[in-house]
């Protein structure tokens, strides 16, 4: 994986501006998929812009004249789980970087935010099954471990989200915030199953789809022999404008189907293409404003 150094620098500036907690970013102000069970207030923390104002403890404000929000036990123990697709399909790129590089940068971005906010985070890789899961920890050292993992990962195998999530959810001991980053190019039935499993075992789930512009637009012409990067199946065809149009329609249909599933479960679903600068993509994800823009 190749991390763009400027991305990390920009990330640093971004976190200063944002001052957001990753947990807030991921939950996005939406009600948790798991309804509250009379949560106990664990402690308070300073209010940051974007926090749910309903959590402001006005008694503390009255005493201190500073804004603090209640932190519940559950929130206090919230861990950020990032599940990253490491199948062969992610080893594809026609633009500046491959999909895995892009996805990994996004994952690293979220991990970096967690470090800045002293929150626990972890990263797991999957293809047909779960691979390389790290123990949730805080701090920069853990961040570098994640970076090392991402840099040394081999991309191989088919994608099976259902299988991978099934295995991963057994490892989740508490409610967590989950981010799945993949191209989600696999049969819809398998995807559906995986999404449902993840939603049941997470407080909040965000799904980030990474696609390459080449696979979106089919940026080739004439007679082409296509080989599937995962199944190795070959298909020869002539790319006429009509064919490309039909392909795009089918791809969009697939994406819309995933979006519908996510909407029905209250899951955030975002599609990004690798020709978009990562920092812009990250800002879109965290919903903030980049300094100087």
């Amino acid at each position: 994986m190749a991390i763009d150094p400027s991305f990390l620098e920009e990330l640093g500036e971004l976190t200063l501006v944002m001052r957001k907690r990753v947990s807030n970013v991921v939950s996005g102000g939406r009600p948790s998929i798991v309804p509250g069970r009379g949560l106990e207030i664990a402690d308070h923390r300073e209010y940051f812009a974007g926090d749910d104002f309903r959590l402001i403890d006005w008694r503390v404000y009255g005493r201190t004249e500073k804004l603090y929000i209640r932190r519940f036990e559950e929130e206090k123990d919230m861990i950020l789980h990032i599940l990253l697709d490491a199948s062969a399909s992610m080893d594809f790129g026609t633009d500046r970087m491959k999909k895995f590089d892009y996805a990994g940068s996004i994952a690293l971005g979220f991990s970096y935010l967690s470090v800045k906010n002293h929150e626990k985070f972890t990263t797991g890789l999957y293809s047909e099954t779960l691979r390389d899961v790290m123990k949730p920890q805080k701090g920069k050292t853990h961040l570098f471990k994640v970076l090392h993992l991402l840099n040394t990962t081999q991309l191989y195998g088919k994608t099976n989200l259902s299988m991978a999530v099934g295995q991963y959810t057994k490892l989740i001991k508490s409610k967590s915030l989950s981010i799945i980053i993949s191209d989600f190019i696999e049969p819809l039935d398998s995807l559906k199953d995986g999404i449902y499993r993840m939603a049941r075992h997470s407080k909040d789930v965000t799904m980030i789809q990474i696609l390459d512009p080449g696979e979106v637009d089919l940026r080739w012409d004439d007679d082409i022999k296509f080989e599937d990067s995962e199944t190795r199946r070959m298909e020869r065809t002539f790319l006429s404008p009509g064919f490309k149009h039909e392909y795009k329609e089918r791809l969009q249909e697939h994406i819309m189907s995933i979006r519908e599933i996510c909407n029905s479960l209250g899951i955030t679903f975002v599609t990004l293409t690798t020709d978009k600068p990562i920092i812009d993509a990250f800002i879109e994800l965290v919903g903030g404003v980049r300094r100087g823009s």
Partner: protein, 640 residues
């Protein structure tokens, strides 16, 4: 399947074009090999295109196959493939159908008539012609008539539909020669089909005409229609007032039986449709019987009809007609000099229905009451000014002026007289010449001028509306014209012995009598005696004609192709014109030609021939379709 042949085998070298096409295809870069994650969508699309998937099992690039096929088919088309088949082929021909349209073809032994049967046969010949053939049609009446000069199959069929049979005799020989001439310019196979009953032919024999045509490479086929001899016909008729009793009719006619039938027949004689005589007579087979009747008749003009009441195969000759003029006494004033125009006076005196009054100018009595005024040898010096003006008035009121060609005529030939005359007189010719009857006419009937000569005569030029009856050296000697309600006659055969020897001819009084009778009829100046079919007559002026079959025309020249009574419509009344067949040969309807094929057995012979069937058109269509398919494929690929 007959073997395939090629007209132009050199074109097959064009197949070599396939080689560069294949080379270009091979040189074409191989398809790119792209590894992408989203092949599942591509495969899903390809599954929906079953045909192209199927095709791609055999051919990776259908466009290449199509292009090779296009080149192959195009080259094959240029090579001109053909097969030889044997089929009955209609070669291109130029034909003329000579169709007998004479009276005998109206015989009904073949239903509805021989002529209609002939038309049917002609129609079947014409309908079997190829598209590029030509056809002409000649109707063989007493003169050949080209009904169609050179038309295609369709126009010939239309022309045949319109032709009609006449009541005339036939002239097959000349008709065949006309057909020969019509074929002279053609380079195609030439055939003449002669359809007739071959009962007779005037003039040239058909067999001789056939030989003459054959000399020019023309095939002549004789096709016979009709095979009956069952016919009685009136072949001759004479009807006039008896010489000794003008109130009695002298009627004589011949009935010819051409066939083997014999028996009793009824004969009826009618005057203006009222029977005045009749009898039942025995007719023997193959006989010619003379009949005579002398019934009483009135003084009036009347149409005499003779009818044979016998049903046979030809009806047109079962009736004959004759017009009997009105019995009138002619009152004649002769302007003459003492002891002049003696022979003329004697001739008139000899007529029992003429009264002559010689008058010696300058004193001319009132012309009222006189039917004729004859200007004879009268001294011009004694003719008072205005005399001819008065005579003009007399003629306009209905009188007839006869101007005799005398030596005094030059002196009398003023503008006033010139205006009246049917001829323009020039100088006197002093030469002995014979006299010729110009046309069959009521005036010239029953006369013969074989030994009549003129010694002196005026050179003349016939006026436009005049009718000439006698002439010599193209100079009219007897002519007449209408003028107002009357008429004017130029009598150039002066009976004076210095001018001619007419006075010695027994025909002179007959001529005179005929002239007087003719001119003294109702003022229609018809000038026509009973005629036979096939004759042309000139009328003194344009007249409305109604034929026996009811057709109408307005003309001054009439071809008599129908037997029966024509009606001539003048301003002051109608005049009947009887026309008869009176032709022994036409009445004999038995067939005469052994050289002819019966119409019922005739068929246009078509020999099977080897025919080349080429496929150029079909191959071009295939190439065009394939080019369209290629365009569609290019369009689907987004290349155009």
């Amino acid at each position: 399947m007959p073997p395939l042949g090629l007209t132009n085998t050199t074109a097959l070298w064009g197949l070599l074009l396939i080689v560069p096409v294949i080379i270009l295809y091979l040189l074409k870069p191989k398809p790119k090999h792209i590894v992408i994650p989203s092949v599942m969508f591509i495969m899903a699309i390809e599954k929906t295109k079953r045909f192209s998937s199927f095709l791609q099992k055999f051919v990776h690039d259908p466009l290449l196959l199509l292009q090779i096929l296009i080149i192959t088919v195009l080259v094959l088309a240029l090579a001109g493939p053909f097969i030889m088949t044997e089929q009955v082929q209609t070669e291109d021909e130029t034909i003329v159908v000579v169709l007998d349209a004479s009276a005998s073809m109206k015989a009904s032994d073949v239903e509805p008539s021989r002529f209609e049967e002939g038309k049917k046969i002609a129609g079947s010949i014409v309908s079997k012609l190829s598209e590029k053939s030509f056809a002409g049609i000649v109707l063989a009446e007493n003169i050949p008539i080209a009904a169609l000069s050179a038309g295609n199959r369709e126009s010939a069929i239309v022309a045949l539909d319109k032709v009609e049979c006449a009541d005339t005799a036939t002239n097959l020989g000349d008709s065949i020669l006309l057909a020969r001439d019509m074929l002279s310019g053609s380079t195609l196979k030439k055939i003449i089909y002669v359809i007739s009953d071959f009962s007779n032919s005037e003039s040239l024999s058909p067999a001789v005409a056939k030989k003459l045509a054959s000399l020019e490479g023309i095939e002549v086929s004789f096709i016979r229609v009709g095979n009956s001899d069952n016919n009685l016909g009136i072949t001759n008729i004479k009807a006039e007032r008896s010489a000794d009793d003008k109130r009695k009719l002298f009627l004589g006619f011949n009935v010819k039986n051409s066939g083997g039938w014999g028996g009793m027949i009824n004969v009826r004689v009618k005057s203006d449709d009222v029977q005045i005589a009749g009898s039942e007579e025995q007719i023997n087979a193959f006989s010619n019987t003379f009949f005579h009747f002398s019934p009483s008749i009135s003084d009036d003009e009347q149409l005499i009809t003779v009818e044979l009441e016998k049903s046979d195969d030809l009806e047109v000759d079962n009736k004959a007609f004759a017009l009997i003029p009105e019995l009138k006494t002619h009152r004649i004033m002769l302007l003459t000099s003492e002891n002049r125009d003696i022979y003329l006076r004697l001739a008139v005196f000899s007529l029992d229905n003429a009264v002559l009054k010689p008058v010696f100018p300058p004193v001319i009595p009132d012309t009222e009451g006189y039917d004729f005024v004859i200007v004879g040898s009268v001294n011009p010096e004694v003719i008072l000014p205005g005399t001819f003006r008065n005579l003009e008035g007399y003629v306009e009121d209905g009188g007839t002026l006869i101007v005799v060609g005398t030596e005094n005529l030059e002196g009398l030939y003023t503008d006033e007289l010139k205006k009246l005359m049917p001829v323009e007189i020039r100088e006197i010719v002093g030469a002995e010449k014979t006299v010729r009857i110009t046309q069959n006419h009521e005036v010239t009937k029953d006369i013969t001028l074989k030994n009549v000569v003129v010694k002196r005569y005026y050179k003349t030029v016939l006026e436009n509306d005049s009718v000439s009856l006698l002439e010599t050296e193209n100079n009219s000697l007897l002519a007449y014209r209408s003028y107002g309600n009357g008429g004017v006659i130029y009598f150039g055969v002066n009976p004076d012995e210095k001018w001619s020897n007419l006075q010695h001819s027994y025909s002179f009084p007959i001529l005179l009598s005929n002239l007087l009778n003719f001119m003294n009829r109702e003022r229609h100046t018809v000038g026509i005696m009973d005629h036979r079919t096939g004759e042309y007559v000139s009328l003194p002026g344009v007249v409305e004609i109604t034929t026996p079959s009811g057709k109408r025309a307005t003309t001054n020249k009439l071809f008599l192709d129908e037997a029966g009574v024509y009606t001539l419509g003048y301003e002051d009344g109608k005049v009947d014109l009887p026309v008869n067949l009176l032709n022994e040969q036409e009445s004999n309807i038995s067939s005469g030609s052994s050289d002819a094929v019966m119409g019922s057995e005739f068929d246009v012979e078509k020999k099977p021939a080897k025919v080349k069937k080429d496929y150029l058109r079909e191959l071009i269509v295939v190439v065009i379709l394939m080019l369209l398919l290629e365009a569609v494929l290019y369009k689907r690929r987004g290349l155009i």
